[in-house]
Amino acid sequence: MPLLLLLLSACRVEFGPAAEIAPMNVGEKAEVWVYTSMYQHVLDAMDPIVAERLPGVTVRWFQSGSEKVAQRWEAEHEAGQSPACVVATSDPAWYVDLDTRGLLVPYVSPRAVTIDRAWVTPTWSTVRLSFMVLGAPPAGGPARFSDLAGPEWKDRFSSGDPLSSGTTFTTLAALDATYGWDFVQQLYTNGWMAAGGNSAVIARMESGERPVGIVLHENLLAKGLPATIPADGAVAVPGPVAIPTDCRAKDAAKQVIDWLYTDEAQALIVAGAMYSPFPELAPPTGGPPLAELPRFPTPPDFWTTTAAGAPALKERFRALVR
C-alpha cells in the first residue's frame, strides 16, 4: 500500500483534453534526449551553450559507457520505444548494426560532408575522434604495436578487455585485420593482460604493475601521462552521431547534431582531449595535428566487416584467453 501511494505521487498530472498533451514537448520546447559516452565534463560545458544556441530545444543528456548506452537503448527499444533522439557513443560497429536493422534516420549534417569520407555514412557521421596508442615513454618504450610481441615486453603490457571495452575491441579488430590472428596469439603468449577499461589500464601503468598500456590517447593527454604514437599507426576510433528511428523530435535532433558540428562544440570536444574530425581545427593540447597523426592501416570495409564479425571475433578472443 505505501508503495502504491509512492507510485501515485510519482505520477505527473496534466489537466486538459488528453489529445492536447504533447508527449515529447516541455512547454513549447522540443525535448531531445542525447545518449552519449562523451565525458561528463564535456557535456557540462556543452549544456548551457546548447541551451542558448537552440532556444527551441531542451537537450537532456544520458551519459554512460558506449556499451551501457547501447544496452539501455536496445532494452528501451525492445520495450516499445527509446526516448533517445541522438546517440553519440564510440562504437561504430553498433551504428553499422543499427543501420543494417533499419533503425537509423538517414541524416548527414551539412558540415559533416566535408570530413573524411571514411567517417561519414548516410545514417551516421563522426563527430569526434579517439585514438588508441601506446601508454609508455617515447624513449625506451615500445615504438609500435608489433613490438609488444617481443620478449622485452613480456608480461609488461596491458589493455582493456575487448569483450567489454569498445575502444579495445576496435583495436583488437584492427590488429587482427592487419597483422592477423597469429599476431594476436603472440601477444597473448607474451603475457597480454586484457582486463577492465582504459582507466584500469592507466591504473596499472601508474602502479607499475603493467608499465605499458594499449590505451586511449585522450586519457593519457588528460592525465599528463607519457604517450607514444605507434610507428605502425594509432588505431582510429570514430565517435559516430546518429538519429534513431524511435526519435519523436527528429527535426530538433537534427538541430542538435548540426550544433555538435559547429566550431564551438568541436572546440569543447577538443578541450576534452579528443580530436575533431575536421583537420583544420586545432588538436588537443599535447597531441600532434590530425594530419600528422599516423593512422593504423585498416581495410576500406573495416567497419562493415567488424560489425558483422564482432560476435565471432569476441568469441575467438574469449576462447584464446580462457
Binding site: 509512492l6 543528456w61 544496452q71 532494452a75 567489454s164 577492465g196 582507466s199
Partner: protein, 528 residues
C-alpha cells in the same frame, strides 16, 4: 492454542504479493521469453563451477569470520568503537576496497608481494575480498540473535554440568541456526550475483576466472541481439542458483532450529582475550591495511604526494547534490524495504506456504546481477503509463530516468535483506508471546506492533542499516537507471572510476565510509 485466522495480515500480505508480482515478477517474466541459445549453456560449465565455488567459499569464509565476531560483540567486553570497526568493510564500496587489495596483493608490484606469496587475481582473492566485505552481514546477524537469546538456556546447561564448549554446541549454536542460515543465504546470494569484484579480479588473472555474472555482461557486450538470449538464459541459471542453494540449505536445516523468548536479563559481557584479539586482528587486516592503502593512493599522483584527487572531489559541486539525493532515496528505500520485508518475513515465519512463496519472490532481486535487473526493469518500466480520467486529467507514470525508478530498483534489490534478517529474528521470538497478546484481546496487527516489533527492534535496525548502506554504495543499478538530472553517489563513483580519476573514486569511497561510520556513531549517541 493457535490463532489461525489473521484476516488483517492476510489482506496486507495479498497486497504485498501483488506489489511484488508487479515489481519483481513482471520484470523477470519480461526476461523469460527472451531466453535462448540453450545449446550454448554446457559451454558455460566453467563459469557455473567457478560461481558455485565462489559462492560457497565466500559464504564459509564470511561465516568463519563473522560468526565468532558476532559472538565477540554480543558476549565480550570490548573496546569502544569495536562494533563500528566491524561494519567498516561493509560500508566501503566493494570495488573501492578491491582497488586497495589490487595495490596490496597484485602479483607484480603488490606491496605485500615481496613478503607474502599472494596473488589477488585468483578465485581465492575474490573470496578474500568478498568475504571481508560480507562478514559484517554475518556478524551483525549473529550478534542480534545472541542479544535476543535467553541466557537462562545456556545457564541451565551449565548448571546441569555441561562444559562451556558443550553448551556452545548443544545450546547456543542450535539456537543461532536461523541467524546462521539467514546470514549464509544472504552472503551466498549476494556473492553469486556480485559483478564488480569478480570483474576486477577475475579478468586480469593469467588464467581468467569467469563467473556467471561476468559472463552475462560479456555476452551482452557481444551485441544485444546476438548476446541477449544467452545472457538471459545465464541470468536464469544464476537466479535458480541464488534462490535454490539457500532454499536447499533451509530445507536441510528445517526442524533443527528452535525458538527462545527474548532475554529479559542479558548476559553481562565479560573479558575475553580471544575476542579482543579477534576484533583487533579484524581491525588490522580488514580495516587498517586497506584503508591505509586507499589513503596513500588518494594522496599520491605520479609517484609524488599530491592533493589533486581530493581537490577533484572537493571541487565537484555535484557530489554534494548526489550525496544528499542518495541519502534521501536510500533512507526512503531502507524504511520501505524494512517495513515490507519485515512484514513478509513475519508472515512467512508464522504463516503458510503462500507467505513462503511471497518471501521467495522477495528474495529474487538479490539473486540476479544488477545489470540484468536493470535491463529487466527498463524493459518493464521504461515506457510511460498514462491513465486518462474523464478526458480531463492525465496521470502519467513516467519512471524512466527518475529517482523513483532507481528507488524501486533498490527496493527490489535489497528486499531480501530484511526478509532473511527479520525472518531469522522472528524465528527466535516464540509465537506464544503474540498469542498471549491475542488472549489479552489484541488484534493480530496490534499484537504484531506491540509485541513482535519491539522484540525485533535490533534485527529491524540492523536490516535498515544494511539496506541503507547497500543502496548508498550501489553502482550498477545507479549507472543504468539514474537520470541525468538525478545523479546519485553510485553514478559519481562510476564517473570517477571509469573516466575521470579512479583514485578520486577512492577518495569518495573513503569519505563515504567515514561519513557512514560517523553518522552511525552519532545516531547511536543520539538514541542513547
Amino acid at each position: 492454542m493457535r490463532f489461525p485466522t489473521i484476516k488483517g495480515p492476510t489482506v496486507l500480505l495479498a497486497l504485498v504479493a501483488a506489489m511484488l508480482v508487479a515489481l519483481v515478477g513482471l520484470p523477470l517474466l519480461a526476461l523469460l521469453p527472451r531466453m535462448g541459445a540453450l545449446h550454448a549453456l554446457p559451454g558455460e560449465a566453467d563459469a557455473l563451477g567457478n560461481t558455485v565455488l565462489l559462492g560457497l567459499g565466500t559464504t564459509l569464509f564470511a561465516l568463519g569470520i563473522g560468526g565468532p565476531m558476532g559472538f565477540a560483540l554480543a558476549r565480550a567486553r570490548l573496546f569502544r568503537g569495536a562494533d563500528l570497526l566491524l561494519v567498516l568493510p561493509y560500508v566501503t564500496p566493494p570495488y573501492v576496497s578491491t582497488i586497495a587489495w589490487m595495490m596490496l596483493a597484485n602479483p607484480t608490484t603488490g606491496w605485500l608481494t615481496p613478503y607474502l606469496p599472494v596473488d589477488i587475481y585468483t578465485l581465492g582473492g575474490m573470496i578474500w575480498v568478498l568475504g571481508l566485505h560480507l562478514a559484517p552481514f554475518v556478524a551483525t546477524t549473529v550478534r542480534d540473535a545472541l542479544t535476543r537469546l535467553d541466557p537462562a538456556l545456556e545457564e541451565a546447561a551449565w548448571l546441569s554440568g555441561a562444559s562451556r564448549l558443550r553448551t556452545l554446541f548443544s545450546v547456543t549454536v542450535p539456537a543461532l541456526l536461523p541467524a546462521w542460515v539467514a546470514a549464509a543465504t544472504l552472503v551466498f546470494a549476494s556473492t553469486v550475483a556480485s559483478f564488480g569484484v569478480p570483474w576486477m579480479l577475475g579478468a586480469p588473472a593469467r588464467e581468467p576466472v569467469p563467473v556467471l555474472s561476468t559472463r552475462i555482461v560479456e555476452v551482452l557486450e557481444l551485441g544485444w541481439v546476438q548476446g541477449r538470449p544467452l545472457a538471459t538464459s545465464l541470468a536464469m541459471v544464476l537466479l535458480v542458483l541464488g534462490l535454490g542453494v539457500p532454499l536447499l540449505l533451509r530445507r536441510l536445516l528445517a526442524g533443527r532450529a528452535w525458538s527462545g523468548a527474548r532475554s529479559v536479563r542479558p548476559l553481562v559481557p565479560t573479558d575475553k582475550p580471544w575476542a579482543t584479539a579477534l576484533v583487533a586482528a579484524w581491525g588490522v587486516l580488514a580495516v587498517a591495511v586497506p584503508t591505509f592503502t586507499l589513503l596513500v593512493a588518494s594522496f599520491t599522483d605520479k609517484g609524488a604526494f599530491s592533493l589533486v584527487h581530493w581537490a577533484r572531489v572537493a571541487g565537484d559541486a555535484r557530489i554534494v547534490d548526489a550525496l544528499s539525493r542518495s541519502t534521501v532515496v536510500s533512507a526512503g528505500v531502507a524504511t520501505l524495504t524494512v517495513g515490507v520485508g519485515g512484514f513478509v518475513a513475519w508472515a512467512a515465519t508464522r504463516g503458510g506456504r503462500s507467505a513462503g512463496a511471497v518471501a521467495g519472490l522477495a528474495r529474487a532481486g538479490l539473486a540476479i546481477p544488477g545489470s540484468v535487473l536493470a535491463l529487466a526493469l527498463l524493459l518493464a518500466f521504461s515506457q510511460e503509463v498514462r491513465v486518462i480520467v474523464a478526458e480531463r486529467a492525465t496521470f502519467t507514470l513516467a519512471l524512466a530516468d527518475t529517482a523513483w525508478l532507481l528507488g524501486l530498483a533498490w527496493f527490489v534489490r535489497f528486499l531480501a535483506l530484511p526478509v532473511d534478517i527479520v525472518g531469522a529474528g522472528t524465528r527466535n521470538v516464540h509465537p506464544s508471546l503474540e498469542e498471549a497478546a491475542r488472549v489479552a484481546g489484541a488484534g493480530p496487527l496490534r499484537a504484531l506492533g506491540t509485541v513482535t516489533v519491539p522484540l525485533l527492534a535490533p534485527a529491524l535496525a540492523n536490516a535498515w542499516f544494511l539496506v541503507f548502506v547497500g543502496a548508498i554504495c550501489e553502482v550498477t543499478l545507479a549507472t543504468m537507471l539514474a537520470g541525468p538530472r538525478t545523479p546519485v553517489l553510485g553514478t559519481m563513483l562510476f564517473q570517477l572510476q571509469t573516466y575521470a580519476d579512479p583514485r578520486a573514486a577512492c577518495v569518495l569511497g573513503v569519505g563515504l565510509s567515514a561519513l557512514l561510520v560517523g553518522g552511525t556513531a552519532l545516531s547511536r549517541r543520539f538514541v542513547r
